[in-house]
């Protein structure tokens, strides 16, 4: 071993024991402590606590009763609750597919604009709905799509089209809510895709052009593969959000008509806060969490074949 090599561990040891190094470490821990505390208090502990609560029967007022797995057994035999999982999955898939495809299409179109101010204008316009309160948007949209006096039906009426039951038929309500959710969340995927498309190396695009690739071929064979990690990220985030859909259906349809737009989170709220079955509501929350984890895991598995990392 050379003298230099022998000195390295010594130097490291000296640096570790240096008072400044200790101070830096303390500062580092202090910096992350707040985040760790925040995550612990508002995410980790509540999830663990919710898991604990799911083994109890509790109506807030009376003494909780330990019931073991009874809430989970009840859940897997509860038709309306299982249906709400199906409704949620269906709506979530529709939201994710639309959010990704429309977001990507718009990003590609905007990215082709040469003028910077045009790009900025579109970016702002598509991002703005994301900044609005979902509750306020849902109330507003509820009025717009109202069967009796909604503005949408009013203008359709001027064209001779009879009133459409946007929110009062099962399919109509689900489709309207999906479209509204997509409209509001589109800005997120759109901005991600615009940024990602702008980072595609120009030399790669020029090479494709020299090789005779047209715009569509360049998009599908060059751009999309290169931004596929961003697409994966957007898909994962969009699906997690969509699986927790609550505000729009709760405010606009109360989960109806019937149970056509009753999502899992609405069911969870009804069981917990309205029917005072907090243990059962927690069990639903835990199963939803598990479902989201499984679906996200599947997305990552699929990504191994579909995502291209440079």
């Amino acid at each position: 071993m050379s003298a230099v090599a022998a000195d390295v561990p010594k130097a490291v040891a000296q640096r570790r024991s240096h008072p400044t190094a200790h101070g830096e470490a303390r500062f580092g821990f202090a910096m992350i402590a707040l985040s760790v505390l925040f995550v612990a208090v508002f995410t980790a502990i509540p999830i663990i606590a919710s898991l604990g609560l799911s083994f109890f029967s509790w109506d807030v007022i009376s003494t909780p009763q330990y019931v073991g797995l009874k809430n989970y057994q009840q859940l897997f035999n509860d038709g309306p609750v299982l249906k709400s999982f199906g409704v949620t999955l269906g709506m979530a898939l529709a939201i994710v597919v639309l959010q990704l495809t429309v977001g990507l299409a718009l990003a590609v179109l905007v990215n082709q604009r040469k003028l910077v101010w045009v790009r900025t204008l579109f970016r702002t316009a598509f991002y703005l709905p994301l900044l609005a309160s979902t509750a306020a948007v849902s109330i507003f949209m509820g009025y717009l799509f109202d069967y009796k006096f909604g503005v949408v039906n009013y203008y359709l009426g001027l064209l001779g089209i009879p009133n459409v039951p946007w929110l009062t038929s099962g399919f109509g309500a689900a489709a309207t809510i999906v479209l509204i959710a997509v409209w509001q969340q589109l800005g997120f995927t759109f901005v991600l895709f615009v940024a990602s498309l702008m980072s595609v190396p120009t030399d790669v695009l020029e090479a494709a052009q020299i090789d005779g690739a047209g715009p569509l071929r360049t998009l599908f064979r060059v751009k999309i593969p290169l931004i596929s990690p961003t697409i994966l990220f957007a898909a994962v985030v969009a699906l997690i959000n969509a699986m927790q859909l609550f505000d729009q259906p709760y405010i606009m349809t109360k989960g109806g008509p019937g149970s056509a737009t009753t999502t899992v989170t609405i069911t969870m709220y009804q069981k917990g806060f309205q029917n005072l079955q907090f243990g059962y509501g927690s069990a639903i929350a835990i199963v939803l969490l598990a479902a989201i984890l499984i679906i996200t895991g599947l997305q990552f598995l699929a990504a191994r074949k579909l995502v291209f990392y440079q």
């Binding site: 509540p46 909780p64 109806g256 019937g258 009753t262 309205q274």
Partner: protein, 469 residues
């Protein structure tokens, strides 16, 4: 404190919470609050807290109006009213229970029929029997002025849980302007369902006008048609007891004959022939273009549509007098009559009143405040502008409705006196689950056009909810 017990065993609420069984994905937040809350409950020693369904601005105004009178009862007490907002009573009750779980229950709660049995069955409030008995002489004029049907609606298992001060029966409001334009003679009190449909058909001819509007909820929805069809969602019965009050406060009052210890809501009858027929009637109204698909909720939108003369008729109570006036309707542009007769002319109603929370440390003071709240002179401080029907008959006067209308204001109280079979809405201890299921199944029926299938579903929902409660 005990540890975790074997299945079926119990464990102290706060032990569970302290152990971390608190919250998560929304639900956890509630339990977390409970863990941190003050287990003794009630307000601080310097304040008396009341919960109220409405806007905080109105609650603060009311609090300031009542403070001088509360100060006369106790100069050191600050009266605090916290408003809880929501679409309907099930929203309100869910939020009240959240406050209870958070360890900050109120001393007094203003709650309607919807929440009475839920509150009483969970022993959140205290029976007022002893207080009433003690102060019966002072309350004699109160009981003489309040219809016994309202008192009975505030009883549960033989005990009185609230002092009622207001109510609303499901009468029929109509636009006098639209009736005139359609050439329809204003309906008489004894009109029938055929008269109603005939009027609706004439009004529906106007473009952009809906002849009859309604909302999906328990009070004054298709449930009014169900009552008039002599049907109900639950088996009707009454608890024994209550003689302690009837024999003393209502001795000799014919309207109190047969009154017992409160309404006992039994097995679900949601898919009975009469109930299905009533909901089918609503579907037929929709199919005939006489009524649009209804919204779910409290009825604010419906009131707005009525006020802008886009709806010919709708179910409303005394609260619509103030509501329509506040929405810009002129006195005389609307009127009210009894709900049309079908198999009977039985109406439904809901009452409002005040209860004392069990956890309150100032129950005696709270009782004094309750008596103050039901005094005649307090009514307009609490409900300015005819936003509900006074429970005291002496307050339902021509003078009260002179500014707002309607012309036939006497219908409000006469619903109780002329139709003694009029009954409260079916609000059992599991009201919240009932309201959720009713809303879902009603919208299902209207969108699918199949009342029987929807009400079979409601029957199953209610059987499950009743079993779980």
């Amino acid at each position: 404190m005990t540890g975790i017990h074997s299945p079926g065993g119990s464990i102290a609420r706060r032990t569970v919470l302290k152990a971390g069984a608190a919250g998560g994905l929304g639900l956890a937040g509630l339990a977390d609050l409970a863990a941190c809350g003050n287990s003794s409950g009630g307000s601080s020693s310097k304040s008396l807290k009341m919960l109220y369904f409405g806007e905080q601005a109105a609650a603060t105004q009311l609090q300031n109006r009542l403070q001088p009178q509360i100060s006369k009862l106790d100069a050191n007490i600050k009266f605090e009213i916290t408003a809880i907002n929501g679409t309907d009573w099930n929203d309100f009750l869910a939020k009240v229970l959240t406050q209870v779980a958070a360890g900050t229950p109120p001393d007094i709660i203003s709650v309607a029929t919807e929440g009475l049995q839920l509150m009483a069955s969970k022993e959140l409030a205290v029976p007022l029997d002893d207080y009433v008995t003690k102060d019966l002489a002072a309350l004699k004029e109160y009981f003489a002025d309040i219809h016994p049907a309202l008192i009975e609606s505030m009883m549960y298992q033989g005990h009185l849980w609230e002092l009622p001060d207001s109510f609303n029966a499901g009468n029929m409001f109509y636009s006098t302007e639209l009736f005139q334009r359609a050439g329809v003679v204003p309906p008489s009190e004894g009109w029938t369902l055929d008269d109603f449909e005939s009027a609706a058909t004439k009004i529906a001819k106007f473009k952009g006008i809906n002849a009859f509007g309604w909302v999906v909820r328990l009070w004054g929805s298709w449930t009014s048609f169900m009552y008039a069809n002599n049907a109900n969602l639950l088996e009707e019965g009454k608890y024994d007891g209550g003689d302690w009050l009837w024999n003393k406060a209502y001795a000799g009052d014919a309207a109190a004959a047969g009154r017992k210890g409160g309404w006992k809501w039994g097995a679900p009858t949601a898919n009975s022939e009469g109930t299905v027929e009533a909901l089918n009637y609503m579907i037929e109204l929709t199919k005939k273009g006489l009524s649009p698909s209804p919204d779910v909720g409290g009825g604010g939108t419906l009131q707005g549509l009525f006020a802008s003369n886009r709806i010919g008729m709708s179910i409303g109570g005394g609260f619509w007098a103030g509501g329509l006036t506040n929405a810009g309707m002129k006195n005389g542009s609307f009127d009210v009559t009894m709900f049309p007769k079908w198999k009977s002319q039985r109406h439904l109603f809901g009452a409002g009143g005040y209860a004392i929370f069990k956890s309150s440390k100032k129950k005696d003071l709270a009782w004094e405040v309750l008596k103050l709240l039901v005094k005649p002179e307090t009514f307009d401080l609490v409900f300015p502008g005819n936003v509900t029907t006074p429970g005291r008959k002496s307050l339902v006067t021509a003078e009260r409705y002179a500014k707002t209308g309607p012309k036939h204001w006497s219908v409000f109280y006469e619903t109780l006196t002329k139709h003694p079979d009029t009954a409260p809405i079916p609000a059992p201890p599991y009201y919240n689950a009932l309201a959720t299921a009713l809303n879902q199944r009603t919208t299902q029926a209207i969108s699918s056009g199949n009342a029987k299938a929807a009400l079979d579903g409601l029957q199953a929902d209610l059987e499950k909810a009743a079993g779980a409660s």
